[in-house]
């Protein structure tokens, strides 16, 4: 399938200290970010972290209370949304309930006074692209969630916008459909090359889709990087927690040498790990559940725990165990374990991240 | 935000409307306190005596008692009849439901005069006109449908699973009504009651058509006082009108505490 839809590429969209306050609360605290043409950027964080605020500021739906946004050197933050020409997919889709699928998709084109023949051709193409040929004359209320989602995407991309903004577009769909639409969005991005900013609270979604992640917390950028970088090398405890480091073991720092730090738990077990921040006294050792291996003997970087709960997950088991000092531990393993077993868990040095 | 001409025009027109409204109300309030007021900017002296005289001459205590009795009776009866009806309409589909819905909509859509005159005729036929009973019955005609109309969507939004859960816990129908539904319905019933109260106190036509000398509510005696003015000074009618507006204002302020005016939409969207 060939497509003529393609965004007008820009070189660089630059957010310079973008700030947004609501009364006394600052939802976005001086965000700096540069987005290159063709990139897929995900803004990631829990609700209230400022990711949607950032998106609305980009769209022009919220005026800034500080900073500036430039597109290839031209200032755009003083333009109203309709003058920016960005496409946006809303969380609740915001389909016009009184218009058919085709009229929804063609709305932006008719606002631009596109000639009839061209409008028809482009709507046809967009309908084909999101595979809604059978449903193009229906109204939004007659469509399923996934179909509505496709209409919303088609409506945003039919204008070939330089930038597509997506605000948690998959959060209203059920699990199976969410996976399907995720692939769909990735496919559209790969084939059309539209620059996209995608807001989500789901780290799996962000990792799967984005070229680059921006992790936000309380209105502040925590880390910007490729999925691999953020996943393997989170800069702080918060990002680590978001990236699946479920075990945060409280420890005391014994010694630090170069990249590594030696720490011990309050009942004297020694762990060596990678130092991710400047450390003093107390610290946290972060380990992913899947980085533990069950071993038979006590050795370097080995913890002893008692199994409490075992969940069967097919190929592997999710195990909740407890260290001797009482702190809980989450483990994923192929070994068959039963509640009450005493186990020894080894973790490689480079898979232990030590944060202050 | 840039202020556009449309915005200025809107606020300007609104301000003009408000100024005139303040003038209209102000004129009545001023006159009710006026010693005498003929052809000048302001009256030549102020007094509160008209309130006392109106209170005595128009026997306002009796009138207010009647108003109160009628309004409370209408509220209680319309809730007792309206809420079960609303429940059945909200929860069941049955043959003839559409017809019943229309029948409960018509008394609200019809001008009170159109059914008030035949109703008064019927009441005269059965010698019920002029009594408290007649006034209450007439006021119930729009009040019951009003309760049904406001309560049906309110009941619809209560999850039926809550009732099923109560049943699974061993509650019988009566217990479900008193222990589960009633507490959930209280806010809706309260809102509907207050709106019915406001409407009944303000309802002129139906009371006027059916009331006798001892069953007049405040609106009606106010109207009678005004149309028979000339015998008594204008100021007395005005002070009575101020009393009426004052009591309506109290009711409205109470009503606004319980009812968000912008929520009216969900109620009327499905019915009308």
């Amino acid at each position: 399938m060939t497509s003529h839809i393609s965004g007008q590429r820009f070189a660089e969209l630059h957010l310079d200290h973008v700030q947004r306050a609501f009364g006394d609360t600052v939802a976005l605290k001086g965000m700096d970010l540069t987005i290159k043409g063709g990139e897929f950027v995900a803004l990631l964080g829990p609700s209230g972290c400022g990711k949607s605020t950032a998106l609305n500021c980009l769209a022009g739906l919220l005026p800034l209370t500080g900073g500036r946004i430039t597109l290839d050197g031209k200032r755009i933050d003083d333009l109203p949304p309709e003058k920016r020409g960005f496409g946006m997919v809303f969380q609740n889709y915001a389909l016009f309930p009184h218009m058919s699928v085709r009229r929804n998709i063609g709305f932006g084109l008719s606002m631009r006074k596109t000639p009839k023949a061209e409008l028809k051709r482009r709507v046809d193409e967009a309908v084909r692209l999101v595979q809604l040929e059978e449903h193009q004359h229906k109204f939004p209320a007659q469509l399923s969630g996934g179909q509505q989602q496709r209409v919303a995407i088609a409506r945003a991309i039919v204008l070939e916008p330089p930038l597509v903004l997506m605000d948690e577009p998959l959060s209203n769909l059920d699990a199976a459909l969410r996976l399907e639409m995720r692939t769909e969005i990735r496919r559209l991005h790969q084939s059309l090359g539209l620059t996209t900013v995608y807001v989500t609270h789901d780290q799996e979604e962000a990792l799967a889709l984005a070229d680059r992640l921006v992790v936000l917390r309380l209105g502040e950028v925590q880390q910007v990087g490729s999925p691999e970088e953020v996943y393997a090398h989170p800069v702080n405890q918060y990002v680590a927690g978001f990236m699946g480091y479920r075990n945060m073991i409280p420890v005391d720092v014994t010694s630090q040498e170069g990249e590594h730090a030696t720490v011990h738990t309050d009942d004297g077990i020694k762990l060596v790990g990678v130092k991710r921040e400047e450390l003093t006294g107390q610290a946290v050792a972060a380990v992913r559940p899947e980085d533990f291996t069950v071993v038979s003997e006590v050795g370097e970087n080995t913890l002893e725990a008692v199994v409490e709960i075992v969940e069967y997950h097919g190929r592997e088991q999710a195990v909740e165990a407890r260290l001797r000092n009482g702190s809980p531990l989450h483990i994923r393993t192929n070994s068959r374990l039963a509640p009450g077993d005493t186990i020894r868990l080894k973790v490689p040095v480079e898979r232990v991240l030590v944060f202050s | 935000m840039k202020a556009r001409p449309v915005v200025w025009l809107t606020w300007g027109a609104l301000a003009f409307f408000m100024v005139n409204l303040v003038g209209i109300v102000g004129a009545v309030v001023t006159n009710s306190f006026a010693e005498s007021w003929f052809g000048t900017w302001l009256p030549n002296g102020y007094t509160g005596k008209w309130y006392g005289e109106a209170w005595r001459d128009y026997r306002l205590l009796d009138v207010l008692t009647v108003t109160f009795q009628v309004a409370i009776a209408v509220v209680v009866i319309s809730v007792l009849i309206g809420v079960p009806t609303a429940y059945a309409l909200a929860r069941r589909n049955f043959p003839g439901k559409k017809l019943l819905n229309v029948l409960f909509l018509l008394p609200i859509l019809m001008p009170p005069m159109t059914y008030g005159i035949p109703l008064a005729t019927v009441l005269y036929k059965f010698q019920l006109a002029g009594s408290m009973f007649g006034v209450i019955a007439a006021n119930l005609v729009p009040a019951v449908p009003f309760v049904v109309l406001t309560m049906t969507p309110f009941i619809e939004q209560i999850d039926t699973k809550i009732e099923s859960a109560a049943r699974m816990c061993g509650a019988n129908t009566f217990a479900i009504f008193t222990r589960v539904l009633a507490p959930l319905l209280v806010p809706g019933i309260l809102a509907a009651s207050i709106l019915v109260l406001v409407r009944t106190v303000g309802m002129f036509e139906l009371t006027f058509l059916t009331a006798g000398p001892t069953s007049q509510t405040l609106v009606v005696s106010l109207y009678e006082a005004m149309s028979s003015a000339g015998i008594r000074p204008q100021q007395m009618v005005d002070s009575m009108a101020v009393i009426y507006t004052g009591s309506m204002l109290v009711l409205l302020v109470i009503a606004l505490r319980f009812v968000n005016p912008t929520q009216l939409v969900t109620r009327l969207k499905d019915t009308a």
Partner: protein, 298 residues
């Protein structure tokens, strides 16, 4: 009944259950009895009474009299001439004001309350106020004359007084309804239109108005009912024997002053008919509009 009794009991229950008839429907009995006794019966009684003219003879005599007596026939036109403009004005004026009142801003609650207060005024205070304020020596005309007018504007005891009274008492209702319909429209729809390049005016024309129109139709109908039933203010601030001799006055005077209940009922029936025609026309127009949900989710 006898046929069903011969069937096994369970089968009747099953068939009723299939139609959704069960014990819950007993709850409808008081409501149904009430509406039939106090609304349907009097209405039908009035209808048949209107075909029994006081003097006997032709059953249609009351209606013939109504349309052949110019003084009576004219009331239809007089009432419409008051009711339609008042309802139209109230609805149209509500739109821009409700539009300004969307969203949150400081003092919104106070302003809403201020706009709703006229509900409490009641017809008599409004009438007294209009007579005093717009009267020949009232504050309005004093300012009017001070501004250089030659003679006081005549705004009471005529058409204008009644129209003003209908606007003052009717506007709060129209405004509240319009505001609630407008608040029911998902604001992200307009935002979506904005990101698609629609200007403020285009958003209003293509998104807000089409979604608001069905609500406005209902608002117009309810405002019209209020204005069409005008009675006390037409007597007090109008000219009840002439310019504002509306149908309500005609019906009331014939029935209760002249004791011709048959003729009074006939006028009441005609009043209901005229009103149903107007509302019917508006509602038929409304069926041509989109009437589904106005929220974001389908």
């Amino acid at each position: 009944m006898t046929a069903t009794l011969e069937q096994p009991k369970a089968s009747v229950r099953h068939r009723l259950a299939e139609k959704g008839v069960d014990r819950v429907l007993w709850l409808l009995v008081p409501g149904a009895v009430f509406v039939i006794l106090l609304f349907v019966y009097p209405f039908l009684y009035g209808l048949q009474l209107s075909f029994q003219p006081k003097g006997g003879g032709n059953p249609f005599q009351n209606y013939i009299t109504f349309f052949s007596d110019e003084y009576l026939a004219e009331t239809v036109w007089i009432t419409l001439r008051l009711g339609l403009p008042a309802a139209l004005f109230n609805v149209l004026a509500s739109i821009p004001i409700a539009f300004r009142m969307r969203g949150r801003f400081r003092g919104k609650r106070a302003l809403t309350t201020l706009l709703v207060i006229p509900i409490t005024l009641g017809t008599v205070l409004t009438a007294e106020g209009l007579l005093a304020f717009f009267g020949p020596t009232g504050w309005f005309n004093r300012i009017w004359l001070a501004l250089g007018a030659d003679e006081p504007a005549k705004l009471t005891h005529n058409y204008w007084g009644v129209l003003f009274s209908l606007i003052i008492t009717g506007f709060p209702f129209a405004f509240l309804l319009t505001l609630s319909y407008l608040s029911g429209i998902d604001p992200t729809l307009e935002q979506a239109a904005a990101t698609l390049g629609a200007s403020r005016r285009q958003r209003f024309r293509t998104i807000t108005m089409p979604l608001l129109a069905p609500g406005l139709a209902v608002t117009f109908c309810l405002s019209f009912v209020l204005a069409f039933s005008v009675f006390p203010s037409a007597v007090m601030v109008g000219n009840p024997a002439g310019e504002t001799h509306v149908m309500s006055i005609a019906a009331y005077e014939t029935a209760l002053r002249d004791n011709d209940f048959a003729m009074g009922s006939a006028i009441a029936m005609l009043m209901a008919l005229v009103m149903l025609i107007v509302i019917g026309v508006v509602l038929i127009w409304r069926t041509t509009l989109y009437r589904g949900a106005t929220g974001g989710k389908g």
